[in-house]
């Protein structure tokens, strides 16, 4: 036997692989088929910290939150059967939002596979459509190579979730352990090589443009390309707008940051998408919530598309000038070739439309004169109390749109939300991971009363770990976004959207989390300040106006021109 190898069990090999990949924190929930691994976790608890969530879905969202603020691969672990199926929502969320995550599930012994054994489920079959890659390990000796691949695949290229299912006999089996990190897979090309001719063609189109517009997405953050992106924006002088997942890559106060695109995005970015002559898409995928009616989307514009994933080129919007590569490389190459522009009259159009949006929407949202509290003013109060430097974790719905519209950021990786999948229940567990991934930062989970109750059991995880997550529930006693649609498109038939809620403060206190509720404007600022100042976890409920709507709005299937301010 070679000196470097150790004769150990598959379960111990799992732990040693995680340590070799630099993992020091995992989220999970034990159960029968994963017990050998948990037994090793007990032995390695000084090196590898395990956070016991209260549901496996919480483990995946926590791993996602961790990945999003730390930039590292999140790890979630669960047992077979229901443990594994409970991971699926988080895996699907990570897949559509390109979040690097490795999930490890236990499986019944390989001799029982296919026998409908206790807690047997075909998790490989179930997870296939929602994973970047998955694999079932049936022999201990496969573990090092497969886990090395799993981490490599999860983090490289366009990141995504990977699931490794390990039978119980493979966990108990012995192997000669030696860990070699994966450096490549012959059938897999994570980053297309930059083709300089594509860069030249794109630069020519951009340099000719009179009314260019940059739309950036999460690719800028995933590619660690914030500096390159800012250099590109500043040299070119082109106004830049963001998708929800691109938020925070460029600071809010930057003069060329012109706001959000999409269904509840800002007025100018949406309308001027329909006026620009060259649209420069950077690390974004033209989701239908961004484009509205596809055949009417930026039909007048030539499209430059900087993208790492070849499958995104022409998927929804035709790219006249595709530039395939990691945007860290492609942006740097493009910046060299772009000519600085003076776009005064074009930029003035953004100001003009912003003024209109301010008058009709923003002023009422953020400086309301009516009695009821608005979600917008709560977010503005958070900005002030946290010096615009909190990590804002949002759930899904009205509060999410309002938070993304009004939250201010001064650095990247500060916005954690469920974008593509729209997973209610995401925020509370994701905030746990977000705080653990960025322990020095203020982390505020902004959640609606509906989504909060989908994963409210994770208060137990917060209590047990003491993780200093600030929970801000905006309570309108409705599933607000669905109610808004019912009001606008279903003649106010509020079918099953009104919620009779429990006393959230009492529930938080049951978990020994300091808690209070605000119902009046005069108490808002001090309560938010108290929440931000709290050393440990804190719960704040704000009773907001019950039937406020989020505007602007582009109805489903409408073109961006049909954006409504009220």
């Amino acid at each position: 036997m070679k000196e470097k190898t150790m004769h150990i069990s598959g379960a111990e090999a799992v732990i040693r692989c995680l340590l070799a990949e630099g993992v020091d924190l995992i989220y999970g929930y034990p159960g029968g088929a994963i017990m050998p691994v948990y037994d090793e976790l007990y032995k390695f608890q000084d090196d590898l910290h395990h956070v016991l969530t209260r549901h496996e879905q919480g483990a995946t969202h926590a791993a996602q939150g961790y990945a999003r603020t730390s930039g590292k691969v999140g790890v979630a672990i669960a047992t077979s059967g229901p443990g594994a199926t409970n991971l699926i929502t988080g895996i699907a969320d990570a897949q559509i939002d390109s979040t690097p995550m490795v999930c490890i599930t236990g499986q019944v012994g390989s001799h029982l596979l296919g026998s409908d054994a206790f807690q047997e489920t075909d998790i490989i079959g179930i997870s296939t459509p929602v994973t970047k890659w998955n694999y079932q390990v049936t022999q201990a000796k496969e573990i090092p190579e497969i886990l090395a691949r799993a981490f490599y695949i999860a983090r490289s290229g366009r990141p995504g979730p990977v699931l490794v299912d390990i039978t119980k006999d493979a966990q108990f089996g012995m192997l000669d352990f030696e860990y070699k990190p994966c450096v490549g897979i012959r059938s897999y090309k994570p980053v297309p090589a930059l083709d300089q001719s594509q860069v030249v063609a794109a630069a020519e189109a951009i340099n000719k443009a009179k009314k260019p517009l940059i739309v950036w997405g999460q690719g800028v953050i995933l590619g660690n390309a914030e500096a390159e992106f800012k250099a590109f924006v500043e040299k070119s002088g082109i106004p830049a707008v963001w998708t929800i997942l691109g938020l925070s890559a460029l600071e809010t106060s930057h003069p060329l940051n012109k706001g959000m695109v999409g269904m509840h995005g800002n007025y100018a970015p949406n309308l001027l998408t329909q006026e620009c002559d060259v649209l420069i898409a950077v690390g974004m995928r033209f989701d239908d919530r961004v484009t509205g009616r596809l055949d009417a989307y930026a039909a007048q514009a030539e499209v430059v598309h900087l993208e790492i994933d070849p499958a995104e080129i022409d998927k929804n919007v035709h790219a006249d000038y595709p530039v395939l590569s990691d945007c860290k490389q492609s942006l740097a190459a493009l910046t060299e070739l772009v000519v600085p522009k003076k776009l005064d009259s074009w930029l003035a159009r953004f100001d003009e439309l912003y003024a209109k949006e301010y008058e009709v929407v923003i002023e009422k949202d953020t400086k309301p004169t009516k009695e009821g509290l608005t979600m917008g003013e709560v977010i503005v109060a958070v900005n002030k109390a946290a010096d615009s430097d909190a990590v804002i974790v949002t759930d899904v719905g009205q509060h999410q749109m309002i938070a993304c519209r009004y939250a201010e950021f001064i650095r990247s990786k500060s916005n954690v939300t469920s974008g593509g999948l729209g997973t209610m229940g995401f925020a509370l567990p994701a905030a746990i991971g977000a705080k653990m991934g960025a322990p020095d930062r203020q982390v505020v989970a902004v959640i609606g009363d509906g989504g909060y109750q989908m994963t409210i059991q994770e208060l137990g995880t917060i209590f047990q770990t003491g993780v200093a997550v600030k929970i801000l529930v905006l309570n309108n006693e409705y599933l607000g976004m669905v109610r808004q649609w019912q009001q606008l498109f279903f003649d106010r038939r509020y079918a099953s959207t009104e919620m009779t809620n429990p006393d959230f403060v009492t529930i938080a206190k049951g978990y020994h989390i300091p808690a209070q509720k605000v119902t009046e404007r005069k108490d808002l600022t001090s309560a938010i300040q108290e929440m931000i100042n709290a050393e440990g976890p804190y719960f704040l409920e704000v009773a907001v106006e019950k039937e406020d709507n989020v505007f602007p709005m582009i109805p489903t299937g409408a073109s961006l021109n049909e954006i409504r301010l009220q």
């Binding site: 694999y135 059938s187 090309k189 994933d309 080129i313």
Partner: protein, 176 residues
């Protein structure tokens, strides 16, 4: 306008890859007309031949999504004119007809089919060709009571070279 396209996939031979590939069609509600899997000309490289009836933009997106899978090496799509393709059919018939019905022997001769096996109870005819050829023989034999009929998925080779060895080399270089 939809057209028949043959999608050729070169991949690693991993358990579960077929499921991953078929999920791409399922997600888009596209029916697979035929599917054949086999080893390829390169050791350890597997080949799928999938036939679909879709528009060209649809087949392009399918190819992009399939090629995106980690274990897939390269994917091509071709029209019928760009490929040489055949299907194989097997016909199981009661043996007594072979001797009692002269017509059957004529059908076999005319269609250039061959007899794979003859037993006291049944005999098996094999015919390789285009769909309309195997179909014609099926229609001719049907009146005599086909005991079993089965047709393979399309097997296809492209007229143009695919250059998989070169692509594999470039992957190796990329990863070093």
């Amino acid at each position: 306008m939809t057209t028949t396209y043959t999608i050729s996939i070169y991949s690693e031979n991993n358990v579960g890859l077929l499921n991953r590939i078929s999920a791409i069609f399922l997600k888009r509600h596209i029916n697979i007309e035929s599917l054949a899997t086999s080893p390829s000309e390169i050791t350890d490289v597997f080949r799928f031949v999938i036939v679909v009836n879709v528009t060209e933009p649809q087949v392009q997106k399918l190819v992009q999504q399939i090629e995106k899978q980690v274990d897939v090496i390269k994917v091509y799509y071709h029209t019928d004119e760009e490929t040489i393709f055949q299907e194989t059919a097997l016909y199981k018939v009661k043996t007594n007809f072979l001797f009692e019905e002269r017509q059957i022997q004529n059908f076999i001769k005319q269609s250039h089919a061959s007899i794979v096996t003859v037993s006291p109870e049944f005999f098996v005819i094999e015919k390789t060709g285009f769909r309309h050829e195997t179909e014609q023989l099926r229609e001719q034999l049907a009146p005599f009571g086909l005991l079993q009929f089965v047709r393979s998925g399309r097997l296809s080779v492209s007229k143009a070279p695919m250059g998989i060895s070169k692509i594999l080399n470039s992957f190796t270089e990329n990863n070093q």
